[in-house]
């Protein structure tokens, strides 16, 4: 009897690990016109918030420690990218607007914030992780999708800015 238990335990684990396939992420090319909220509760959408600028979009959540680890980096990026006409927009996913607003006020986050209460934008962009980092060019096309803000995301941002300069 005891010899069967390890086998049954492995069967349980294998079944749980494969019981539903993880969706393969497909990089979208355009921003979907999904309604978001500002911290003040005003409806808007991401395209309007970006205003035709090159942007780094960060999906995050108040409960996510890895997201909190990049707040300082996003603040620095927001200041420096702003000097070059780009912007950083953070979108809190899956939480109530007032919860996010209170958290942003407590932490003193100064870069633009939007709220996706029902995961509508996150699901449309097929992003199921936080933090997630996207780089959007001036035409509103997503040119990079990644996890936490890292060297690859910054390289994609620099490439998008270079492309903007070349196009002028």
């Amino acid at each position: 009897m005891f010899r069967r238990i390890p086998f049954l335990a492995l069967l349980f684990v294998a079944a749980c690990a494969t019981s539903a396939p993880v969706a393969k992420l497909r990089q979208p090319t355009t921003l979907p016109p999904i309604e978001l909220l500002t911290l003040e509760g005003q409806p808007t959408n991401l395209t309007a918030a970006l205003g035709g600028r090159v942007a780094v979009v960060s999906l995050w959540a108040t409960w996510c420690e890895a997201c909190a680890a990049e707040f300082d980096a996003l603040s620095r990026l927001s200041e420096r990218a702003g000097a070059r006409g780009a912007t950083v927009v953070a979108i809190a996913v899956g939480e109530k607007r007032d919860t996010v607003a209170a958290f942003v006020a407590r932490r003193g986050l100064r870069y633009p914030q939007l709220v996706d209460e029902e995961f509508k934008l996150a699901d449309a962009l097929q992003q199921k992780r936080v933090p997630a980092t996207l780089v959007v060019d001036r035409e509103g096309r997503v040119t990079f999708v990644g996890g936490a803000l890292d060297e690859q995301a910054l390289a994609a941002l620099r490439a998008a800015l270079d492309a903007q300069v070349a196009a002028r």
Partner: protein, 72 residues
Amino acid sequence: MKRALLFVALSLSLLPAGCAIVPQNRRGKLADPLLSFDEDPLEAHKKSKFYSTREGAAGGDGAPAGGGCGCQ
């Protein structure tokens, strides 16, 4: 006793039919540290040392059952 254990083991092997894959961005409630099984290692040691030195049955929690101190 053996049949009961076999029943429990078989039931557990059928649980996968109900296992949900929880996307990482939906784990807000699971991120609560109170939900973690490894909440406080110092309290875990306090409990583990206390019970293993006063009860003949110990182990299964990742630490050796017995040895390591002059307390059996």
